[in-house]
Point group: C2
Chain length 327, copies 2
DNA sequence: CACCATTTCAAGAGCGCTCTTGAAAAAGAG
DNA sequence: CTCTTTTTCAAGAGCGCTCTTGAAATGGTG
């Protein structure tokens, strides 16, 4: 292992340990040439600062915790890419924690992040209730992505407006019987449903909502049932792309053609929905951008610049592709 | 933050600090009732062991580092699921590091893992050269998934056999002009190409290999060019599913039908390839199982049971779906 | 060149835990 | 009941770093 310590470098360079410490951080109050010298000696000895020790001794080490709901959902990978765009150049350390589609790992994931003593947590796709979440927002700085959370910084996309646009798009194509597959939990994520409902009602149509899931396979089953119902909807709008892909799975399995026999509308504009193979109509909430903003907010929070909670908005845009067509 | 320390618990429970430490680990040499008492007091005070401090003080804390190449490639999510199946029940701590499709983040990711002082690294999809990799295998225990690495434990799928089967499958469907889109790097991953070449030669056919990529989009471009060539191949076999999906993107973008106009063969049997929407013919290398085995090997390595390097094999199986059809 | 402000450095006290050491208590043996 | 072995515990020395404190060197000023 790497056993050369700060002490070794100090001795070899003929300075004190604390000076080596300073040299390896931004460090003013140290002569440039001395600093150079220390760094050179450190390099020669193959010294690498021990993050563990520095974490323990210092009050902070500038690490950001990142919670991602699910590795199978491409949208979270987009967010992650956005985060890295800003953290990589800064050399920020990221600690990842992964949940799952039913939320049962959320608490453990957050605990892990706390144990790692990160300065701030960027959370994308948490499913635990607002109440449970409050326990964590009081313990650690949190930047919530795409879900409004109290006592946290928020990087948010206007889901109400986005879902309204999407529904109106379907209506404008002539669809009247539009089903919505909702999010299984409502806390913090209810706006997509609301947008759908309000657009339907404004058009004098009656909403037809089914409780969904975050799992593509589970949604496929749900969609299969919906498509088997006596009065088959002509369009299905799912609460996110992952779910919408499950709908697509159901549609093609039944031998139907998306955008022709049934229209399918997603939400997120994940990389996967963009691929020509899926070519799925969806609402772009700019996941990459959300991730980027979240990381910037996290930086601000760590630097202590802002005392007030920050909320950043990104406007969703409708992206019609080939899975929605005229009725 | 969480400021109740081991010292606090010790005082409140009327025992020594070291005894609290023992109580919170497996710990023998401590009376069961005392242990219960300590744990009860700790819970009441809201004590949570500080992983950072324990890491620094102890020689190991049983953490496993996990390197995954790319979050957009579903196959790595499968591996990760397999890993978690065995680590979750044990309460093992996982430290994640994510690379990217061109390998440029590999070194940084490995460094991060080393800095986190993990006991063993499970690496899936590393792209750095064997030579560079050797620097790390000498510093930390490594379990390599799906790539044979010297001085490391290996959880391996027989790529030579798998690629041979896949190619033979295409040949048996009547294809003669079969293109192969290879891995951009050869170190540790060359067997799929070899399997393809040998199967082609055995059948008296001449291989037609194109250098590929790990990026779906880049492969789409490559495939588009291939499909535009004067003598268009009737089948394209890609080094992995992610690449094969790029081929599919090219195929559908050109208005062709996979499995009819052009056959597309992938490799990995990632979740994505299994979805009805893709329904892609591929070779199942049992990613979930590979992940599971890797975690088990990692456990063995940590427990110090084995001194010799371990190699586990998983047999690949051909999974014909709808993207390969008769010529 | 005396004086004070400023910059550059060394020393040392922790951070919260683990692990070794050895003492005290309990158990077994004769 | 004494002596030995075993188990249960306390004390304390670190792990490798940061950060505060104050001393030494440096610079600026009249």
């Amino acid at each position: 292992m790497n056993n050369v310590t700060m002490e070794d470098v100090a001795k070899a360079a003929g300075v004190s340990r604390s000076h080596v410490s300073l040299a390896y951080r931004d460090a003013y109050g140290i002569k440039p040439d001395v600093r150079e010298h220390i760094l050179a000696v450190g390099k020669k000895l193959g010294y690498r600062p021990n993050r563990i020790a520095s974490l323990l001794a210092g009050k902070s080490n500038g690490a950001i915790g990142v919670y991602l709901q699910d590795l199978h959902n491409d949208f979270f990978a987009d967010i992650y890419d956005g985060i890295r765009e800003v953290t990589d150049p800064l050399g920020r350390h990221l600690v990842l924690a992964i949940g799952n589609t039913d939320g049962s790992r959320d608490v453990q994931a957050l605990e892990t992040l706390l144990e790692s003593r990160v300065d701030v947590v960027i959370a994308a796709g948490l499913m635990i209730s607002d109440k449970d979440l409050a326990k964590y927002t009081s313990k650690v700085n949190m930047v919530s992505v795409a879900r409004i959370v109290k006592k946290a910084d928020n990087v948010y996309s206007n889901n109400l407006a986005g879902a309204t646009k999407a529904t109106e798009h379907l209506i404008s194509l002539g669809h009247r019987n539009i089903a919505f597959i909702s999010n299984p939990i409502s806390d913090g994520y209810g706006d997509r449903l609301k947008g759908y409902e309000s657009a339907m009602q404004s058009a004098g149509l009656s909403p037809r909502t089914y409780e969904g899931s975050y799992s593509r396979k589970e949604v496929q089953e749900i969609a299969t049932q919906i498509l088997a119902s006596k009065i088959r909807p002509t369009a299905i709008f799912a609460h996110n792309d992952q779910a919408a892909l499950g709908v697509m799975d159901a549609v093609v399995t039944l031998g139907l053609k998306p955008g022709k026999d049934v229209s399918v509308m997603g939400y997120d504009n994940s990389s996967l929905s963009q691929s020509p193979l899926a070519a799925m109509s969806t609402v772009d909430i700019h996941g990459y951008e959300l991730g980027r903003l979240a990381a910037e907010v996290a930086n601000k929070r760590m630097s202590g610049e802002h005392s007030k909670l920050i909320t950043e908005y990104v406007e969703p845009t409708l992206v019609p592709r080939s899975t929605t067509g005229k009725m």
